[in-house]
């Protein structure tokens, strides 16, 4: 019996010796974690706060669920001496005119009700029929989401007076259209059009010759996906209008198309800017004379990286100034690094006589409080720019424009939100940042260090 007992005991001990390591191993595995989490290193872009006396306020009705503003434009549409705001809304679907009736008072009017086309991407104000009132050219995107389908149109809203507009489709059966600009390209006295057929995998740059009677003849200038904007200007100073555009889908390139006169364009377009970084995320091209030397420069915004389900701001996003050096030479100069930059607008925000730049971000890291959605780049007069943060909400700003809306001699800012993905807790449709300038109080910047990527 005792032998049996001893044997039994030995067996138990042997089993315990074998099992105990496993028990401790298991305990180690399931023991609750008590240590601090591994270091999390967010890369939200923030800048030192701006001291510009800007006051934010919504324009139009409050945001309704998830606003999808694609473009805002400042223009005196009714030519009453007060600047108005035009906005393309892909959620409420239509182009809305915010008419400034008296300082600070805004009256919302849809240009067409109901809107008979797809989501508008862009509006251009121009007297297309040259009848002395301002018409509106609408770039019908057709679909906010990427598609190769032929959903785009170029639409002319003819101003009939008395706030009424008559739509006429000038071009259809094309892929998504992101911009239409007008100018007399062939020197015959009427206005022709340039169209950015953005598409998706396939796209084109077109010019439409005005044949009279609101008939336009489509001509292809380049077949490439992703032209976004087509600013027209006399880039080479020879007295006629040339075309610039940014292609962003397959390549990241800015091209110039020299007008040779008589409706002819140089068959060898000029590559004004390119980068081997095909992920740059070009998002817009704005023509302005940033250095005020009398020739048109270009501002390229970059921050569109629609790749995974959600997007993250990248170190190379921001704003690039293409300085016109003459003879079709453009010198690229980085003005700012700012993750998710989707649009840029020049304006004299601090009233010192030079042009500053407002930038908006659509894809900053919105999960981090304080991530900038609106910043301005202060120009020291010699084209050295310092970034200042104006706002961290509304988030997801996609479009921005500057203009002296309140007549105080300084540019104000208007921006629109395109809220595609979470978070939806700081949405905004159209927001105004109006200058509240009082003499002596509005010194731009504070001397604090400009913020950088933390």
């Amino acid at each position: 019996m005792s032998r049996g007992y001893t044997g039994y005991l030995t067996g138990i001990l042997a089993a315990a010796v074998l099992l105990v390591p496993f028990v401790f191993w298991y305990l180690l595995q399931v023991a609750p974690a008590a240590g601090p989490p591994p270091k999390v290193e967010p890369a939200a872009w923030r800048f030192a706060p701006s001291s510009l006396p800007l006051q934010a306020s919504p324009l139009g009705p409050p945001p309704h669920d998830r606003p999808l503003l694609t473009h805002v434009q400042v223009f005196d549409l009714d030519q009453d001496g007060r600047l108005d705001v035009l906005a393309c809304d892909a959620q409420r679907l239509g182009v809305f005119w915010y008419r400034q009736t008296e300082a600070g008072q805004w009256d919302e009017r849809p240009l067409l009700e109901p809107w008979p086309f797809g989501p508008p991407a862009h509006v251009t104000v121009v007297d297309l029929d040259q009848d002395q009132d301002l018409d509106v050219l609408v770039s019908d995107l057709g679909n906010v989401w990427p598609t190769n389908a032929r959903v785009g149109r170029a639409v002319w809203l003819e101003n009939l007076g008395d706030w009424r507009f008559q739509p006429q489709v000038l071009l259809d059966d094309v892929r998504r259209v992101t911009d239409v600009q007008a100018g007399d390209l062939d020197g015959d006295g009427d206005l022709d059009l340039v169209v950015a057929e953005f598409g998706f995998d396939q796209g084109r740059l077109l010019w439409l010759e005005n044949m009279g009677g609101q008939a336009f003849r489509e001509r292809q200038l380049m077949a490439a996906p992703g032209p976004i904007h087509v600013p027209l200007a006399d880039y080479d100073g020879d007295g006629d209008l040339d075309i610039a555009t940014v292609f962003t889908q397959e390549e990241e390139e800015v091209w110039g198309f020299e007008n040779l006169g008589g409706g002819r364009f140089d068959p060898r377009p000029r590559l004004l800017y390119s980068t081997p970084n095909h992920d740059l995320g070009g998002a817009g091209l704005v023509q302005c004379d940033l250095d005020q030397d009398g020739d048109p420069d270009l501002l390229l915004s970059a921050g569109d990286n629609l790749d995974l389900v959600y997007h993250y701001p990248q170190p190379y996003h921001g704003c690039i100034w293409l300085q016109n050096l003459g003879s079709w030479r453009f010198q690229p100069r980085r003005l700012a690094h700012f993750g998710g930059t989707y649009a840029a607008a020049p304006g004299d925000l601090d009233g010192d006589g030079d042009l500053d730049v407002a930038l908006v971000s659509i894809f900053n890291d919105w999960a981090r409080p304080g991530a900038a959605s609106l910043a301005w780049l202060e120009n020291d007069g010699r084209q050295h720019f310092t970034p200042w943060q104006i706002a961290d909400q509304p988030t997801s700003l996609c479009t921005v424009a500057c203009g002296d809306l309140n007549g105080d001699g300084r540019a104000d800012i208007v921006a629109g939100g395109l809220h595609i993905k979470e978070p939806f807790d700081r949405t905004g449709r159209i927001t105004l940042w109006l200058s509240r300038h009082a003499a002596g109080s509005a010194q731009a910047g504070t001397g604090a260090q400009a913020g950088a990527r933390p």
């Binding site: 974690a33 008590a34 591994p38 292809q220």
Partner: protein, 457 residues
């Protein structure tokens, strides 16, 4: 005497056991505290998704690399990149030899724009024997390009040259550096391997234009316009994986399950849960599914009201107007259905509105409006024809387009696409006639004029 040899064994075992207990206890008590997984601001998501995120994070075993890795992937899919990166990093600390986890970490770093760190980790993952080293080299090559380091990019793409996407990048670099001939050679091979892929034709056109071969450039542009496929890249698989995680998790995943339950006829359970989800946070997808339940239960008016709310909150689109019109139709409000469908087809695209053209045609037919019915039937055939042409079936496209023209011969675009189909079928004379007819209807139709110039009088 007999017990003696046994006692030492028991004693030895006892001693070992005590030693194990002491060592184990010491290990458990004095082990360095294991880090808890980070918790991002999950409240930016709907309550169900946020709760599942918290649960998943709380369920991570502190020493289980696979748990950290799964959590990382879920965070990545929901845009919490910094937290995803931290979790991938921890997973790699726990399993330093695991090549795939290191590759995932590198990919996350890359997406965050921490490019130099990403490059180092891609390299490390390859050195550890990652099973898809070519894909990692492709990502690394793209990252070198993001740094504008073209020589390093070229070297990296050359190591992944089995991948068409890597060879495409090499061709692109050749072209950018002025070696159009070399680019054309590389592209020639790609064009043969993946003829329906758009990008190589398009880049070849650019290369030929650069070489001064305008005619060849036009030909490749034409091929690019006809091609439908996208260049396959390793990014596709990664992106799809992330999308799947996103769509299977939280509210998205639950909505997908409920969709299947509705299809299986489990309406009461689906209704209960969808109502709960909508109470938690309104979403168009949930309201749409609930309208399906309403419809299946014969509550047509409720379905119509619900989809009306979706339209109001989401804004008009082909999809929502179509759905709302169907609910109106089911509720017996045919006039309203017709009105919204008319608006829906204007929002296009026509290829996606084919079913709606049929519905409108039937609606007008039932009202005795034969002309309008015929017009919408013609639009249906037009849309079907263009879709077939786009998908490389010119014969079928021709048949549809001719059907459309038999019903409505006044649409210039239909004649133009018929010309395109006939050209693809090598019926040049017929194509010329079709383009000519297009121009009779629309004198300045640019593409028809260009086509006639191309094929000659």
């Amino acid at each position: 005497m007999n017990r003696l040899p046994r006692m030492p064994l028991a004693k030895v075992l006892l001693a070992v056991l005590v030693a194990e207990l002491l060592a184990g206890t010491a290990l458990v008590l004095w082990q360095p505290p294991q880090p808890v997984p980070p918790l991002p601001p999950v409240e930016i998501f709907d309550p169900l998704t946020a709760e599942q995120m918290r649960q998943m994070r709380d369920g991570v075993r502190p020493r289980a690399a696979e748990d950290w890795s799964e959590l990382a992937e879920m965070y990545l899919a929901h845009g919490f990149y910094p937290e995803a990166e931290a979790c991938y990093r921890r997973a790699c600390e726990l399993s330093p030899e695991h090549a795939e986890r290191r590759g995932d970490w590198a990919f996350c770093l890359s997406r965050m724009g921490r490019i130099e760190e990403a490059l180092a980790e891609f390299q490390q993952a390859i050195a550890l024997g990652h099973p898809d080293a070519a894909a990692l080299r492709y990502f690394a090559g793209r990252d070198w390009l993001r740094l504008e380091q073209t020589e390093a990019a070229k070297r990296t793409f050359l190591l992944a040259a089995d991948l068409p996407a890597a060879r495409y990048e090499l061709a692109r670099l050749d072209l950018a550096e002025g070696r159009g001939g070399r680019a054309a050679e590389r592209l020639e091979r790609l064009q043969r391997e993946i003829p329906d892929c758009l990008a190589p034709h398009w880049l070849r056109a650019r290369a030929e234009r650069r070489l001064g071969n305008a005619r060849e450039a036009e030909e490749y542009e034409r091929r690019a316009a006809a091609a439908r496929g996208r260049l396959p890249t390793p990014f596709d698989e990664r992106s799809e994986r992330v999308r799947q995680v996103y769509h299977q998790f939280g509210r998205q995943g639950r909505l997908e399950q409920l969709r299947q339950e509705i299809e299986r006829g489990r309406l009461a359970e689906a209704r209960r849960e969808l109502e709960w989800l909508l109470q938690q946070q309104w979403s168009a997808e949930a309201a749409d599914l609930l309208s399906d339940v309403d419809h299946a239960e014969g509550r047509f008016d409720q379905a119509r009201r619900r989809l009306g709310e979706v339209l109001d909150r989401e804004g008009p689109s082909l999809h929502w107007l179509w759905r709302y019109g169907e609910a109106c139709e089911a509720a017996g409000e045919l006039d309203e259905a017709g009105r919204v469908w008319l608006r829906a087809v204007a929002l296009g695209p026509e290829s996606e509105a084919q079913g709606l053209f049929v519905k409108l045609s039937q609606l007008y037919e039932s009202r005795g409006d034969v002309d309008e019915a015929r017009r919408f039937k013609a639009r249906f055939y037009h849309a079907a024809g263009v879709e077939r042409l786009d998908s490389g079936q010119p014969g079928a496209a021709r048949a549809s387009l001719e059907e459309s023209l038999a019903l409505d011969a006044e649409r210039a675009a239909t004649w133009y696409y018929l010309g395109q189909a006939l050209e693809a079928l090598d019926r040049t004379a017929d194509a010329r006639r079709a383009y000519g007819r297009c121009l009779e209807l629309q004198a300045f139709h640019g593409r028809a004029l260009d086509a006639l110039r191309r094929i000659g009088p």
